[in-house]
């Protein structure tokens, strides 16, 4: 199976200057393949969000190699990183982070719109179809504040898929939802993964949700450790 992303010896730390230098990631090796659905677990503060931000090209690693879709990405300049992010990656955050000034549909269109600077033909139809897929077609014109938490997060998932990415990075996408809704949103991501072959990396603390994931990885002491469940 084709590799979607590859990390080799990725290191990341914070501080310097006044503050002491603290390394969070001590050399992460990780390869994700096309169509995988991977859960990422680890104690709070272990660096899961940091890792996702690096994989998502939101911040560069201090050291190590990062390959996305066959392209070395750790040393790209801001514009090139932005372009790669826009074309290959989708984000879902713990808080929906929808833009309050735009409708659900406009939010879904935002990755296409922001990346190309305009709306290509067919983008609207594609976005509407995605909203329809998650049962939100009739809410397309609503502002985020007019939607429930579960609906907001579903719009956010759809937004992450709008530009037909190869990899969706989801950082505790259900952390803010009640158990029932969280399970539904998780199931939705599984379905989309199966239907569209998009790779998912999902950070979750919820053991029951993680159980359903075919592949589970842990972040321990700044390194990736195979999940005990998988080893056992």
């Amino acid at each position: 199976m084709a590799e979607v992303i590859r990390l080799e010896g990725v290191r990341k730390g914070y501080g310097g200057g006044e503050a002491p230098w603290v390394e969070v990631l001590h050399g992460v090796d990780l390869v994700l393949h096309e169509g995988e659905f991977v859960s990422l677990a680890g104690p709070s503060g272990s660096g899961k969000s940091t890792l996702l931000n690096i994989m998502g090209l939101l911040e560069p690693p201090n050291d190590g190699a990062l390959t996305i879709a066959g392209e070395r990405a750790e040393a790209l300049d801001d514009d090139a990183r932005t372009r790669l992010r826009n074309r290959y990656l989708g984000f879902v955050f713990q808080f929906h982070h929808l833009l309050p000034a735009f409708s659900a549909l406009e939010n879904v269109l935002m990755p296409v719109f922001a990346g190309t600077g305009r709306l290509p033909a067919g983008a609207r139809e594609h976005a509407l179809a995605l909203l329809e897929r998650v049962g939100l077609a009739e809410h397309a014109g609503k502002r985020p504040v007019q939607l429930s938490g579960g609906q907001q997060q579903r719009v956010a998932i759809v937004r992450a898929l709008a530009n037909r990415p190869r990899l969706v990075l989801a950082d505790e996408p259900t952390g803010n939802l009640d158990t029932q809704t969280a399970a539904e949103v998780f199931a939705l991501m599984h379905d989309i993964n199966r239907e569209q072959g998009v790779t998912f990396l999902v950070v979750t603390h919820d053991e029951r949700l993680a159980q359903d994931c075919p592949r589970r990885v842990n972040l321990v002491d700044g390194r990736i450790a195979p999940s005990p469940a998988l080893v056992g």
Binding site: N53, G56, L58, E59, D78, D79, T82, R83, R85, N86, R87, F91, F93, H97, L99, P100, A101, F102, M110, P111, F113, A114, G115, T116, G117, R118, R159, N163
Partner: protein, 406 residues
């Protein structure tokens, strides 16, 4: 619509209150600039117009006599000498027709006229009044000093044996068109004229002293034979008079004075007025620029989470920058439209309030299309420039930080 335009508009709509405040600020600033520009331009044009309604733009006169040094200083040495200014003879210009034609032919000169003038007296019924005898060829002269608007009684014409006089002289000597008037010169020559017209020159002193008579008559009264004392010229553009002066001087060998030389105080006053109005405009522009910049900076801080999200979605830094530059341009552009309208309305309103007793405006305000274009252009440019700092700040935001703390 493009991403940049859509997002810029949406952000401005979201921050309605701020947008309204900043628009009001730009509008008021632009209105002040337009108002001051229109009023000052109107005032100055009016003052210049009034001043030049009895003056030529360029006056050529005979060279002043100077005493020659009797002893030339030896090479490398010096001579202590006191050279007195000599009294000036009543100098005249001969060969004037040729010189008049030569200067008239200069590009930038609209028209020219020869004047033979000198001191004299007007007498009637035993009353003597000191006057200026001004001999003119009426057609030429009227092209330089417009007479029709000054006519109070009679007709603008100077056939042989007639004179046109100022309204004060007419009052003092009890003259009306058709009255007879005796004019004497310092040489003792005298002649009786018929009053053809009474004129109002706009200045009491001129109204008391000026008598316009045919050139021939003035020449014979003043004992000049065929010479004249001055050549008057009108320039196409009155602000080129100074530049034309040197060329006319070189061409004729005569002394030349521009209207600026003859009205030095007025010119200084106009200049300092222009300078202060320019200062006001510059400072207002700065204040407007700072206002735009500070509101946009606040808006960038308020919207940093949104900016971070847009960056995470794949909006390049350049597009984020463009969003805020566009907001600056929009605020400047729209504010300048509202501001020019308001400023023009205020200037017109002032010209309605400031009126002469007869109901005509004290001065016309000058509102040109150019003023609109320049103001709109400058305001938009100032908007964009003021948005530079906020826009760069927005583009440099670290998306991770912006999303976490926004």
């Amino acid at each position: 619509m493009s991403f940049v335009v859509t997002v810029a508009f949406r952000l401005m709509r979201e921050g309605r209150f701020q947008t309204a405040l900043i628009l009001a600020g730009v509008t008021i600033g632009v209105a002040v600039v337009v108002y001051i520009t229109a009023v000052v331009a109107g005032l100055q044009a009016n003052i210049i117009d009034k001043t030049l309604s009895t003056q030529a733009h360029l006056v050529l006169k005979p060279r002043e006599d100077e005493n020659r040094r009797l002893i030339a200083p030896p090479a490398g040495g010096a001579v202590r000498a006191e050279v007195e200014k000599r009294t000036q003879r009543e100098n005249t210009i001969d060969d004037w027709q040729q010189r008049l034609d030569a200067v008239r032919a200069l590009p930038g000169i609209a028209s020219g006229a020869a004047i033979a003038s000198g001191p004299g007296f007007a007498t009637r019924g035993g009353i003597n009044k000191s006057v200026s005898l001004i001999g003119v060829e009426l057609d030429d002269y009227a092209r330089i000093v417009p007479l029709a608007p000054k006519l109070k009684a009679g007709a603008i014409a100077l056939p042989t044996g007639t004179v046109m006089i100022g309204s004060e002289l007419a009052r003092e000597l009890g003259l009306a068109p058709g009255s007879r008037l005796r004019l004497l010169s310092a040489t003792g020559a005298a002649q009786t004229f018929t009053v053809g017209a009474v004129l109002d020159f706009g200045l009491r002193d001129l109204n008391r002293r000026w008598t316009l008579l045919p050139l021939r008559a003035a020449q014979s009264l003043l004992g000049y034979r065929l010479e004249v004392t001055e050549l008057y010229f009108r320039a196409d553009n009155l602000f080129e008079a100074d530049a034309l002066k040197a060329r006319a001087r070189a061409l004729t060998g005569l002394d030349a004075d521009s209207w600026q030389d003859n009205n030095a105080q007025l010119v200084v006053a106009l200049r300092s007025q222009s300078a202060s109005s320019m200062m006001i405009r510059v400072f207002v522009t700065f204040a407007v620029a700072l206002g735009i910049a500070s509101v946009l900076v606040v808006s960038v801080v308020q919207k940093q989470r949104e900016i971070g999200i847009l960056r995470a979605m794949g909006a390049p830094a350049s597009r984020i920058r463009a969003i805020f530059l566009l907001q600056g341009a929009l605020v400047g552009g729209v504010g300048s439209l509202l501001g020019t309208a308001l400023g023009a309305a205020m200037a017109v309103g002032l010209s309605r309030i400031a009126i002469t007793p007869d109901g005509s405006p004290l001065f016309p305000v000058v509102i040109t299309p150019g003023l609109f274009y320049v103001t709109a252009g400058v305001a938009s440019a100032v908007g964009v420039l003021s948005a530079f700092a906020p826009a760069w700040r927005a583009a440099r935001l670290d998306p991770v930080e912006a999303i976490r703390h926004g």
